[in-house]
Subunit: 344 residues, 2 copies
DNA sequence: GTGCAGCATGTGAGCGCTAACATTGTTGCT
DNA sequence: AGCAACAATGTTAGCGCTCACATGCTGCAC
C-alpha cells in the first residue's frame, strides 16, 4: 500500500498512484468530460486507496469561490428566528453551500459591524440576515458588509431584497375573525416596540378595526415574553373591571398569550366565554393550552427557503442585485377554542 | 488615490502604497514584533486607504488552519438543541472561530455520514456534535469524521469527550421532591425511546422510586410533543379512574407536560390538588402555565460553553485526545405550583 | 577596530489546487 | 494521402499568503 509519509494525501499523490498527471486527477474529481473511462476508474481507485480528500481551501483560493454562505441571526432562542434559521440551513445545504452562522446580541452599530465583519472575513459568497428589529435593519443598510444580502422579516427599501411573512395580513385576519364573531372591539397586546413585526401587527390590527368602524383601544406594549403577557393580561382585566368593554384580545405572539391566559384565569375571567384570545406564531404548545389557542400560523421554513432562493438568484445574476424583489409568505389563521362570540 | 484596477487589493498592493515589502505588511497584519512603529503606521494607513481585507483562504492554505469549527445539530426546532447551539455559537465566536452548522434530519448511517462529510469537506478544525439520540451517537462513533469531536448530551464511551446535563440527577431530584411531598408513587411520561436523555430520565425516576421503597408503575412512552403528552395524560386519567393510585406525574419535558395539563383539565382532575405534575426543561412558558409548572432547569448555554471549552482544550493539546473527559452540568429543580402534597 | 548580538526589513519558495495552453494521438472528410 | 477537428493527456503559471532564511544596519563589548 502506498503511503504519503504521514501527511494527508494531495492531488499529486493520487496522480502518482494512478499513473497520471495531477491535472487529470483534478479533472476526474471535478467531473470534467474528456477523460477516458478507464482512466477515471484508475484515478477513482487511487483516491479510494489513499483516502484522498480534495483540499477545499486550495480550491477556494484559485476559484475565488468559498462555497460558504453566511447567516446573521438574532436571538435564536426565540421560536421564529430558530425555525427560519433551520429552513435556511437546509436549503443552503441542498444547494451545495456551507452555512456559517453568527448571531448578534449587541444591536448597536458597533455590535452589528463586528458581526458583519466576522462574515466578511470569512469571505462568504452571500448572506441571509434575520432582521426583525428596526435598529438592526437600519444598521445593516448603513454598514458595508457581505453582498449580496437578503433580509428576512424586515428592512424594506434598504436596497436589498426582503423576504418575510405578511404580518399585517395575518393581524388583519385575526382581528377580522374576532369582529366577525361579533366583538365590538379588539384589544391588542403588542410585541417589543423596536421589532418591525410588532409594528406591522399593530398596524394591521388598527387598520382592520378602523375598517370595521370599531373603536381602537390603546394597545398594551409587551416584549414577547410570557411574563409581559401575564402582566398585561392583568392590566386588561383591570380595564374590564373598570367598565371598559374587553371581550376580545389579539396578542402579538403565543408566548405572551400564555401569560394572558394565566392572568385571566387568576382573576376568574373565562376564555373564551368572557374574553376571546387570539395569538400569533402557532408554537407547538398552542393547540394544547387550555383552552386551545386560536392563532396565526407563520410558515418559517418556507420563509427560510424563500430567502435562500432569492439569495441564490442574486448570486447567479449579480446584475439583478439592484432590483430587489420582495417575497412575502402568507400567514394563516388557525381557529381553536380560545375565540368565540361575545356572551350576550 | 491609488487603485488596484478593479480587483480587490492584495497584500502586495498595500506593500507598494506603503513602500515596504509584502512580508512587512504581513507582519503588521499579524501583529508580529520587530516592526518599526513608524512603518506600522504607514502600513496601517495604506491598508485603510485601499480598504484591504486579508484573504483568509490564502492564509488558511499556508497555515493549514481554517479557523472554522463545525457543529452537528439535530432538530434545532426543539428547545434544548436550539439553546445549546446558541451557546456553542457564542463561545466559538468569542474564541475567534467561525462556526459552520449542519443539521441532520436523516439519522441513518448514510445520512449521518453525509452530514459529517459536509463538515470534513470544509476542513473544520474540530466539531461539536449534539447527539441526543442513541442512533446518532452510535453512527458518530463508528464513522470517520472531523476530529477532534466533542459530543453533547450523549454517547459516553465512544472514544470522544461528552458534555451534558446530569439528566439522571435531575430526574431523581424531581422524583425525590414528589416523594418528599408525601406521594406514595410517581408515574412517568417518558420522552422518545431512542433519545438518551429520555432513557436517563426514566432510569433516574426508577432508581429514585426504588430507593424510596415505592412501587414503580409502568412508564408511558411519549415522543416529546405536546400531543403525546395530551394523549398520555388521558391514559393516566383512565388509570386513575380504574382505581390505580395516580397522585403524581413526572413528565420528561415541559412540552408534554402542557399536554398532560390539558388532558387533566378536560377530565376534571385538578393540578396540584388531585395530581401533582413535574416537567423538565423550564421552557419560557412554564412559569406562566396554569398552574405554574414545577420543572427541572437545564442550563443549555452552559452546556454549549462547556462543550466548546473541551473542544478548544483538545485542539490545543492533541495528545490528550485519547483521554476523554466527561463534563457534566447539574440540573436544578424549580418548584412552582403544579406540585403539592397529595390530598388526604 | 573587530566581532557579534539583535533589530528591521527583504527575498524566495511553496501551500494544493485550477485555468490556460501545449502536446500528443486519433478520427473523419475531402 | 493530407489536413482539420477533436479527444485525452501533460505542462506551466499563479491564486494570496506565510515561513524560513538572507541581508543590512545599529550598538556595544573587548
Amino acid at each position: 500500500m502506498p503511503t504519503t509519509g504521514g501527511r494527508s494525501p494531495v492531488m499529486s499523490d493520487v496522480a502518482k498512484v494512478a499513473g497520471v498527471s495531477h491535472q487529470t486527477v483534478s479533472r476526474v474529481v471535478n467531473g470534467h468530460p474528456n477523460v477516458r473511462e478507464e482512466t477515471v476508474v484508475r484515478v477513482r481507485r487511487a483516491i479510494a486507496e489513499l483516502g484522498y480528500q480534495p483540499n477545499s481551501t486550495a480550491r477556494a483560493l484559485v476559484t475565488r469561490r468559498t462555497n460558504v454562505l453566511g447567516a446573521l441571526a438574532v436571538d435564536t432562542t426565540l421560536f421564529g428566528p430558530a425555525q427560519t434559521l433551520a429552513g435556511i440551513e437546509r436549503a443552503a445545504r441542498e444547494a451545495g453551500y456551507f452555512l456559517s452562522i453568527v448571531s448578534v446580541d449587541d444591536l448597536s452599530p458597533d455590535g452589528v459591524a463586528e458581526a458583519l465583519d466576522h462574515l466578511v472575513q470569512q469571505a462568504v459568497e452571500g448572506c441571509v440576515a434575520i432582521t426583525p428589529q428596526r435598529e438592526l435593519a437600519h444598521a445593516l443598510a448603513a454598514l458595508p458588509g457581505p453582498r449580496p444580502l437578503v433580509a428576512v422579516e424586515g428592512g424594506e427599501g434598504a436596497g436589498f431584497p426582503v423576504v418575510g411573512v405578511d404580518q399585517e395580513q395575518g393581524a388583519r385576519d385575526a382581528v377580522r375573525h374576532l369582529v366577525g364573531l361579533g366583538h365590538r372591539t379588539v384589544h391588542h397586546v403588542a410585541g417589543r416596540a423596536d421589532w418591525l413585526e410588532a409594528e406591522a401587527r399593530v398596524h394591521g390590527w388598527r387598520e382592520e378595526l378602523l375598517a370595521a368602524g370599531h373603536v381602537v383601544p390603546e394597545p398594551l406594549a409587551g416584549d414577547w415574553s410570557p411574563r409581559s403577557g401575564y402582566e398585561l393580561g392583568h392590566r386588561l382585566a383591570e380595564r374590564r373591571a373598570a367598565g371598559e368593554e374587553v371581550t376580545a384580545v389579539f396578542v402579538a405572539n403565543d408566548q405572551m398569550a400564555v401569560g394572558v391566559l394565566k392572568a385571566f384565569h387568576e382573576v376568574g375571567l373565562r376564555v373564551p366565554d368572557d374574553v376571546s384570545v387570539v395569538g400569533f406564531d402557532d408554537i407547538p404548545e398552542s393547540a394544547y393550552l387550555t383552552p386551545g389557542l386560536t392563532t396565526v400560523v407563520q410558515d418559517f421554513t418556507r420563509v427560510g427557503t424563500a430567502a435562500l432562493e432569492v439569495l441564490l438568484g442574486a448570486l447567479e445574476s449579480p446584475g439583478h442585485a439592484d432590483t430587489p424583489v420582495d417575497r412575502t409568505v402568507p400567514a394563516v389563521l388557525r381557529v381553536r377554542d380560545s375565540s368565540a362570540p361575545p356572551s350576550a
